[in-house]
Amino acid sequence: MSKIFKNADEAIHDLTDNMTIILGGFGLCGIPENSIAALVKKGVKGLTCISNNAGVDNFGLGLLLQHHQIKKMISSYVGENAEFERQLLNGELEVELIPQGTLAERCRATAAGIPAFFTPAGYGTEVAIGKEVREFDGKMYIMEQRFHADFSIIKAWKGDTNGNLIYRAATRNFNLPMAGAGKITIAEVEELVPAGELDPDQIHTPGIFIKRIFQGEHFEKRIEQRTVKSI
């Protein structure tokens, strides 16, 4: 049974309206660009998107916002995004903000079959409202639960035909804990190689977490805050 798909369109062929999808990346770094473009092209609507950020106005998840495809965003930081703000203030978009570490751990828990765990993040704040609170060793924690998502869509640098993945630099971010967090996890990679070409000691995500893999056609890798020092 091959995990290899020709392109993003085919990899998301059965992703339909009103689904919940988890998307990797931090800001615009390590986002599944090709899959997002395919989602725009496909025009699926009413999506609940779980992703650390919401892209910028004309890139990343901002593209899905532009086309009114997102019903709800679950993020830790939605940043500077005028269209996002407009839709939110107009009541066209729901937003759930959760602490970044909690988001990462909930994704990991989902993939790892852990239904709930305790974290100190958000204790005593509005994040804790409605959540179970408990003391361990004299410190207060709140209980957080896993997600339920139809798809998880992530991006890696190299992947092999078994679905094994290697990330490059700071693109590992949410992509790794999101691997396996959707009923189906799709990985788009910059380079797809035959199984056996990756060193088994250097693989970041074992292929078992990945159901579909394809080589992206083009990666723009836009930089959100180009910052340089003078010589």
Binding site: N52, S76, V78, G101, A121, N173, F174, I223, Q225, R226
Partner: protein
Amino acid sequence: MLDKNGIAKRIARELQDGFYVNLGIGIPTLVANYVPEGVNVTFQSENGMLGMGPFPFEGEEDADVINAGKQTVTILPGGVYFDSATSFAMIRGEHVDLTVLGAMEVSETGDIANWKIPGKMVKGMGGAMDLVASAKNIIVAMQHVNKAGESKLLPKCSLPLTGIGCVKKIVTELAVIEVTKDGFKLLERAPGVSVEDIQKATEGKLIIEGEIPEMVL
């Protein structure tokens, strides 16, 4: 009175050899410029990097190498990349020795508010709630009063909280203040600033014991 760099410089004196440090956006970022000689610290960026280095030279930016502020950065020799779950394992597990971050308000019991202003567009808490709930050692870098001239050191925060009872120290343009169980304890005055100036700018309970020394930068 200190400027932003002065605040950063004073905070940098809190760095100890071997510390792993997470710096928030804004003034905290400037702390990296003033690491004392002979003190070796490692900067953590919560998006997945230890050993964060300076910004790259023009033309050497790498879209895959950014910090938590989404800025292009570099990695130092001996640095390491990791994923977000591992990153917050470091933070939550108290492996990060010091967190420096900005705030809108701090209460005399160490509560901090720095993510949300009712009625304004909320951008999100990012990693701030994890950082303040976890760090053994949290220093807030901020202005003593807001743009409206109101004190940011309060008996109780008025804004939605980021975390409770977590701030250990505050460094502002006017003073270094420790958060004790009895309230804000004045430790140091900024150059040219009087105890009265600080008292006037502090709405929360300010504890002044003995002679308050001027900061050494």
